[in-house]
């Protein structure tokens, strides 16, 4: 360290660029997203979770369950993909919660909160960069799906809309996870707690098997479970038409029903998460 008379850190101090509120918030969100994207490259666990586990799930379900399950009118592997897309991107949302919990635990959140930055940017940047993770995951899963016999049958445009809907739903869920991550600032607890919630939520649905033979209560839950609607919307978009869809409004109009859920989740959990962010203190 060189010693100079004048203060080294005050000389040549940079000047902030003038920005409007919205421009500032976008710039902050970008800075946070940039950081999270760098982390995707650097954190091996995250890479494994993102790239390998979806492949494993597809192969396991396709060949282990697929060998025993017979669904009329459709190859099981084709039936499976819509469901497994929905499940995997919901699991992907836990990254949002765990990442935020980790930031609180490590004190980085304090750094953010002491900066003159947009209050929502940490959350917006976080959830936005987690969409990138989900996009990567969907690409990997689609390729794996194509290898095991899944096909897009109604044109690529419609399929892309299906992917968009799945991503939008996952984005909404990541705000739920953001709230939980800030509420329970321990990444391990967030992971364990959300698995307890995600497994039933994604299994009591039409994701892996038709629900017609479910016990009555489970069948009712599955009919109105938004995960079922997302899955059905995906299958419709990819043209993976199987057995007749159950005659309930939610599954007859899966896109509208999913959009409704997205709106409701965002309306509730964006304000909750922002409020919790303001409170979140690393002890």
């Amino acid at each position: 360290m060189t010693t100079t008379q004048a203060s080294p850190v005050r000389d040549g101090a940079p000047q902030p660029i003038e920005m409007g509120t919205l421009q500032g918030a976008l710039s902050d969100g970008l800075a946070i997203a940039r950081r999270n994207v760098i982390k995707i490259k650097r954190v091996p666990d995250l890479l494994v979770f993102t790239l390998l586990s979806p492949i494993m799930f597809i192969l396991l379900f396709a060949y282990v369950f697929g060998s025993a399950i017979d669904i009329p009118g459709i190859n099981y592997r084709e039936f499976l993909i819509g469901g497994i897309f929905a499940q995997t991107v919901i699991f992907g949302a836990t990254i949002t919660g765990a990442g935020l919990a980790e930031d609180v635990q490590k004190g980085i959140m304090d750094r953010f909160r002491s900066l003159p930055m947009s209050r929502a940017a940490v959350l917006v940047g976080r959830t936005a960069s987690d969409v990138i993770i989900n996009v990567i995951t969907l690409v990997i899963m689609s390729l794996t799906g194509l290898l095991v016999g899944w096909r897009i049958r109604d044109g690529i445009g419609k399929a892309l809309l299906g992917f968009l809907l799945i991503l939008a739903f996952a984005y909404a869920v990541s705000w739920v996870m953001a709230f939980i991550g800030l509420l329970v600032p321990s990444p391990e607890v967030v992971n364990n707690a959300s698995f307890l919630f995600i497994f039933p939520a994604t299994f009591i649905a039409n994701t892996f098997v038709p629900t017609d033979n479910f016990p009555t209560v489970l069948k009712f839950i599955a009919d109105w479970n938004p995960v079922s609607a997302v899955t059905q919307a995906g299958r419709n978009a990819f043209g993976n038409v199987g057995p007749p869809v159950r005659d309930v409004w939610s599954l007859q109009h899966p896109v509208v029903y999913t959009l409704l859920w997205i709106a409701i989740i965002l309306a509730i959990f964006v304000p909750l998460a922002v409020r919790q962010f303001k409170k979140a203190a690393s002890r």
């Binding site: 203060s7 101090a13 002491s114 003159p116």
Partner: protein, 327 residues
């Protein structure tokens, strides 16, 4: 001189227990205020309120003339904070960490990059700038964290226990950096549980315990509160203790105390140097050999002991937990 940091009657309660119990602080421009106290004294709570991370239940505070409650964003654009454990993202490199902070201060990509390079150079991290912070030593992480607090060269700086957990060499390095900072006119509030640290760095020291100020002044003023100097003497031969004690008693004010384990005699004296000379002559005449003898001024440890009735002991479990969480 104007007060850059000013707090009046800050109260913060957690579940009915007061972490801060009516704290007043004034830090004049360009000075270092040392907030000294054991763990749980309320130091961090005070810093969190002044840096807008926490709302006080009662009282007011202004930083750089701005009310922390009414215009937190205004305060944030004028302060730098380096917290109790290094808030760096360990998967990002040093350069990326500082760049991110620069972008969040709205410096724009180009300025943020350039500023990051300058700071890394300044904090001896240039060589490690492209390595993930995960590979840094504790001292390097602290320096990176401090650099993060200086990205816009804020006029007011808060350092919450900047050297807790550092080895002695890194600690001294950190002290040099901090001293240099303030030479440029930065106003600094520093919390510490190390009495030596406050003694070395702070112009003014506020001693707090259980959320209240128990003493305030310069290091010298605080020391004089506990009384004057004392002679400490370690005898070579423990059978000669009584002779040595007689010699010291002749110059002492009050009793001469003796610690059997260390064979150390301690006597409060007045007129330090002369008293020491007289004691040395007496020892010589009595033929008592001293292993170690010297005039000692009271330390802030003594201050703490006198003021609170307990030493500046730390809740070690709390500390190690925090270190664990930081890892």
């Amino acid at each position: 001189m104007t007060d850059v940091i000013e707090a009046r009657g800050l109260v913060k309660r957690y579940k009915g227990v007061a972490a801060l119990d009516g704290l007043d602080l004034s830090v004049p421009e360009g000075t270092i205020m040392g907030l000294l106290g054991p763990n749980g004294a309320g130091k961090t709570t005070a810093v969190r309120i002044l840096t807008t991370l926490l709302d006080a239940d009662e009282g007011t505070a202004t930083v750089a003339g701005i009310d922390v409650r009414q215009d937190p964003a205004g305060v944030r654009s004028r302060i730098g904070l380096s917290g109790q454990y290094a808030a760096v993202d360990e998967y990002l490199t040093g350069q990326e960490n500082l760049e991110m902070v620069g972008r969040l201060y709205k410096l724009g990509g180009k300025q943020a990059k350039a500023r990051a390079r300058v700071l890394l150079e300044r904090f001896d991290l240039a060589d490690a700038g492209n390595r993930p912070a995960k590979t840094y030593s504790g001292g390097m992480r602290r320096r990176l964290d401090l650099a993060g607090a200086l990205v816009i060269a804020p006029p007011v700086l808060f350092l919450d226990e900047p050297t807790t957990g550092l080895d002695p060499r890194s600690r001294i390095g950190m002290w040099d950096v901090i001293r240099e900072l303030v030479s440029g006119g930065t106003t600094l509030l520093l919390t510490t549980q190390y009495l030596e640290e406050a003694d070395r760095l702070a112009d003014d020291i506020v001693v707090i315990d259980k959320g209240k100020i128990i003493a305030q002044g310069t290091a010298d003023q605080l020391k004089s509160q506990v009384g004057g100097e004392r002679i400490e003497l370690v005898v070579e031969d423990s059978s000669r203790v009584d002779d040595a004690r007689q010699v010291l008693a002749a110059v002492a004010v009050g009793d001469v105390s003796y610690d059997v384990q260390t064979r150390r005699l301690t006597a409060s004296v007045q007129g330090g140097g002369a008293a020491l000379q007289q004691a040395l002559r007496g020892l010589d005449e009595a033929g008592v050999v001293a292993l170690d003898v010297g005039l000692r001024r009271p330390t802030l440890d003594d201050v703490f002991l006198t003021l609170t009735g307990h030493g500046a002991e730390n809740d070690e479990t709390d500390n190690s937990q925090k270190a664990g969480a930081a890892r």
